[in-house]
């Protein structure tokens, strides 16, 4: 006989909770898993712009979400990368694109050819000119990439959208597909006397919710994973000292970029995320180096259009829970860790967590809900991705030349994780960036930030010498021209949005 369905309980709405609920609704069989989400209308979410990574497109595809509809309903825009201003040095700027620099010639990566061209006096154009995505950013242009046959260099894209509209969108979508939503706030957690597993929750109203497996999406509170099960907090603030953010939306301005902007400041950095109806802004900063008041003033001074409300203050700390899955509970989003949104990894980490969880979720047949073989693998994957992102974020800070500013002096002087030190040494020696099978962050991303932060390899891979110098010069010239032609022909980001998913168009009903 078929076992009763396993009851999944998701604690907390917001992006993490509703992304998880939506994926469960789409991928799990209702006779085998039931999904309940508990959220409270009292706990508001901050309606700031959210920037994402290209992986989110896979998530939408998994859910069979229509892109244009999703973008209309979340005021979404396209994103080809992130522009970093003043990070290396005030006045300097670069783009980390979702795409490659140049092409592989003779099986050898482009950066080697480019460094060689410089060293051989061929005066190649700046590296970013060999990226179709970066040059599109420079012109506020956009077109859908041809993934199979790129006309010049490869690129992908992601989205900017309003995070609370996104949660609303997924809420409607999930409820239409059978997710049970319960309004309320969990105030008490019951544990099994012997196994220590969570058996149920009590809401403020007194209502009791039983469950077999729990997903903690309660945000920084980490009600289940941290508070109740005591998964220890691993503090990374010695590497990533920012601990506050002011967030404020302003009116949409003429500068409608197909990229996120990140501007380094005395005590941290400011983000700028263009949405269809307004622009999201925020200042991530460290209270060790700048006061809350000063940071607030810095943010307001940076806006390029009138603010739409008073700035809201968010408090956080860099780090993560040592075990993201403990007993019969997994933490997603802030409940499991926090890394500042410098590389737009928040939703990616949630998505990755959900996809790993759904593969490894306990089956209704098995008595135990906490199989250490499954949770151990989940935690290994979680460790790996957190550490890789951590190193990548630290790189942005560590490789700066903003001498004389206390925050920037501090982040230049601390001891780096060994894994990052090794990567920097390899790059400096010969422009080599290790390859990961799982590809995150990709080699191209590392190259963008390494070169962008002003680092330059001393030498290049000798395999690049295969190409005769005059042939190299001709190839560089041809590629440069080809990219220019492609980008010159691209429509503006604003035009593509208006045509593809402008909110002026009639809204279709969600969930039908």
């Amino acid at each position: 006989m078929a076992p009763p369905p396993l009851q999944l309980v998701i604690v907390g709405g917001g992006s993490a909770g509703w992304m998880c609920a939506a994926a469960c609704a789409q991928l799990l069989h209702p006779a085998r898993y039931t999904v309940t989400l508990i959220e409270s209308d009292d706990i508001g979410t901050v309606g700031v712009g959210e920037a994402t990574l290209p992986a989110l497109r896979d998530f939408n595809e998994l859910l069979k979400i229509d892109e244009a509809q999703f973008m209309r309903e979340t005021q979404g825009t396209f994103k080809l990368g992130i522009e970093f201003r003043d990070w290396d040095w005030p006045g300097e700027h670069y783009v980390h694109p979702f795409g490659s620099f140049g092409l592989l010639w003779g099986g050898v990566e482009f950066q080697h050819h480019w460094v060689r061209a410089r060293q051989r006096g061929l005066n190649p154009a700046p590296l970013e000119d060999y990226s179709c995505a970066v040059r599109a950013c420079r012109r506020n242009a956009f077109e859908f990439p041809d993934f199979k046959n790129p006309r010049s260099t490869f690129f992908g894209y992601a989205y900017h959208f309003d995070a609370s509209l996104y949660a609303d969108f997924l809420r409607r979508w999930s409820i239409a597909r059978g997710v049970r939503r319960i309004e309320g706030q969990a105030v008490d957690v019951a544990l099994h006397g012997e196994t220590g597993e969570i058996t149920g929750l009590t809401l403020k109203s007194g209502q009791k919710i039983d469950g077999d497996f729990f997903v903690d999406c309660s945000g920084f509170r980490s009600l289940l994973l941290g508070d109740t099960l005591g998964s220890p907090w691993e503090d990374w603030s010695h590497w990533l000292p920012c601990d506050r953010a002011w967030a404020v939306p302003c009116e949409r301005s003429a500068d409608f970029t197909p990229f996120t902007r990140s501007i380094a400041k005395k005590g941290g950095w400011i983000w700028r995320i263009p949405l269809q109806h307004r622009t999201g802004n925020g200042h991530v900063f460290s209270t060790r180096f700048v006061s809350e008041d000063e940071a607030r003033a810095t943010l307001l001074g940076q806006l390029d259009a009138p603010a739409l409300m008073e700035p809201k203050l968010l408090r956080f700390k860099a780090g993560r829970r040592a075990q993201a899955w403990k007993r019969n509970c997994v933490g997603l989003g802030l409940a499991s860790g926090f890394l500042e949104p410098l590389e737009s990894t928040s939703l990616f980490l949630i998505q990755k967590g959900i996809q790993d969880l759904l593969r490894l979720l306990p089956a209704p047949e098995t008595g135990s809900r906490s199989d250490e073989r499954l949770s151990g693998e989940y935690n290994r994957l979680s460790d790996e991705i957190y550490e890789r992102i951590r190193d990548f974020l630290i790189l942005h800070y560590a490789a700066n030349r903003r001498h004389g500013e206390p925050l920037w002096d501090h982040v230049r002087s601390y001891e780096l994780p060994e894994s990052l030190r090794h990567k920097l040494a390899l790059f400096e020696s010969r422009g080599h960036v290790p390859y990961f099978k799982d590809g995150f962050f990709s080699r191209d991303s590392w190259l963008a930030v390494l070169f962008g932060q002003g680092l330059m390899p001393k030498r290049y891979d000798r395999l690049a010498d295969l190409l005769p110098v005059d042939e190299l010069a001709a190839k560089l010239h041809e590629l440069h021209a080809r990219i220019a032609t492609q980008v010159d022909g691209m429509p503006t980001h604003a035009d593509v949005i208006a045509r593809h998913c402008g909110t002026g168009a009639a809204l279709r009903q969600v969930g039908t």
Partner: protein, 491 residues
């Protein structure tokens, strides 16, 4: 000193010549001069390289023409390995170099199969593998667009060792590699830095260089001269003797290796166009005479030219030491199963190319290389360990093999597979997910549960797809040519 310009490769047999070809084609244009000091070969007519599918793309990179390779070496194709239990304790299984089944409803095949099996499906996993089916029917498999859409299929070779080395040597010489033949050689070091400066060939000629490759196989002449420590894996692998012999060619040689497990070890039959190459791995507790009798009996063939070699699996603490890189058995000696020998050579070379020194100091390249190569070797060792640890064969040899210590990575891999059917796939794996599925299922590790995403698909849809896949396989196998005919029609 600046970047190395004089590369000296010391070694013998196919590894030294594969290294020479790879280094010359990649670094010759960058102004690196490649010299090979060739020691007398140890391969005999019975020796064969049973290669993994990864060799073919390396050959292609070297612009090696497959037809000419097979004509020159009289080698054959292999679509996988067939594991048979002559002790009659465990069912046979086929490890094919190709995928099994096809995705159903956007979900991997294995979870669907596991679920169908739970509901009474009587068809084995490997029966859904086109590559295995073609091999077992004596066919070669040539992908067409339908097959490529269906899944992936690949192949390795059985390359007779002597002609393969000779053929690679010819190519290397044509490409401009210099060769010095030597009966013996020893390393000369710089007293102050400890680096190698030259190799003395037959005590008379000094061949100087600024970078060295040790391709001397298990002798590891340069590694030993540099005093690089070695971890023994003897505890992990029960066979320390290897008997090689040859037998008459089979009338219709199949495109796979047949591995037969007897009470005191295993015997593998590798068909080529020249002969049937037979190897027998066993423990020195069995006498060599007894081993020959066992091998003859398990092979069911009259064996000729039998030779016995010691086999001592183990790993060098670092494959790159100072200005010397060890490749193949000089860096890591594997168990003889699974064709890992040439794979070890290839791993060493492929990792070296993008890290070949660009300046005098190369500490960071060295540490990157040693880390990745070690991981790659350890993952192959895990694959081999799993074969021994999970075996259900009869006899003392196999009982002891079951006590093989396992790495933490392998314990995790088996645990997750058993719990969920999901495969933990680390960085630097030589064996694919499909390889691991064959191995683990073949040894009876049956997952307790499956990816819940498979539950969404209605059973009748799955049933229809399963039938469609079986039909597709039947049809495609019938249209393939027999391996022997396929070989003889190539020119």
């Amino acid at each position: 000193m600046s970047a190395p310009r004089e590369l000296v490769i010391l070694g013998r047999d196919a590894p030294v010549w594969l290294a020479a070809n790879v280094m010359q084609s990649a670094l010759g244009p960058a102004g690196v001069r490649v010299t090979v000091i060739e020691l007398p070969g140890l391969s005999g007519p019975a020796d064969v390289y049973a290669t993994l599918p990864a060799l073919e793309p390396l050959h292609r990179r070297l612009r090696i023409d497959e037809n000419r390779l097979l004509a020159a070496t009289r080698g054959a194709f292999t679509l996988g390995m067939n594991f048979i239990d002559a002790t009659r304790q465990a069912p046979a299984f086929f490890h094919a170099y190709g995928s099994t089944g096809a995705r159903i409803d956007n979900v991997e095949f294995l979870p669907h199969w596991l679920k169908a099996r739970q509901h009474g499906l009587p068809v084995a996993f490997e029966d859904f593998c086109l590559t295995a089916a073609a091999a077992k029917h004596g066919r070669m498999l040539v992908p067409d667009p339908d097959i490529e859409r269906h899944g992936f299929t690949d192949y390795g070779y059985h390359l007779p060792a002597i002609p393969y080395a000779a053929w690679l040597k010819q190519r290397a010489l044509r490409a401009g590699v210099e060769v010095v033949a030597a009966r013996a050689a020893h390393a000369l070091r710089d007293e102050s830095t400890g680096d190698l400066v030259a190799i003395a060939a037959d005590d008379e000629r000094r061949i100087t260089g600024d970078f060295f490759i040790d391709a001397t196989g298990s002798d590891a002449l340069l590694m030993n001269a540099l005093g690089v420590a070695r971890d023994s894996w003897r505890d992990a692998f029960p066979a320390d003797r290897l008997l090689v012999a040859h037998a008459a060619p089979l009338p219709a040689p199949p495109a796979y290796a047949d591995v037969r497990h007897g009470e005191s070890g295993w015997v593998a039959l590798h068909p080529s166009q020249v002969c049937t190459h037979v190897i027998h791995a066993y423990s020195s507790e069995t006498s060599d005479e007894r081993a020959l009798a066992n091998a003859t009996q398990l092979a069911g063939l009259e064996l000729q030219g039998a030779q016995v070699r010691r086999r001592a699996p183990g790993l060098r603490a670092s494959a790159w030491q100072g200005n010397c890189v060890a490749i193949g058995a000089a860096a890591c000696d594997f168990d003889a199963l699974h064709g890992a020998d040439l794979q070890a050579v290839q791993i060493g070379l492929v990792h070296l190319l993008p890290l070949f020194p660009v300046a005098a100091g190369c500490a960071v390249e060295r540490s990157e290389y040693n880390k990745n190569v070690r991981a790659a070797f350890e993952r192959i060792r895990d694959f081999q360990s799993a074969h021994y640890a999970l075996n259900r064969y009869g006899g003392a040899f196999w009982s002891r093999a079951r006590l093989t210590p396992l790495s933490a990575e392998l314990v995790r891999k088996i645990g997750v597979f058993r719990a969920r059917g999901d495969l933990v796939h680390y960085e630097d794996e030589s064996f694919d997910i499909a390889d691991w599925q064959s191995l683990l299922l073949g040894h009876g590790v049956m997952p307790e549960t499956w990816d819940p995403a498979a539950d969404r698909t209605p059973p009748e849809v799955v049933k229809g797809e399963l039938l469609r896949i079986l039909g597709f396989i039947r049809q495609k196998v019938e249209s393939q040519r027999p391996h022997a005919q396929f070989l003889s029609n190539r020119s």
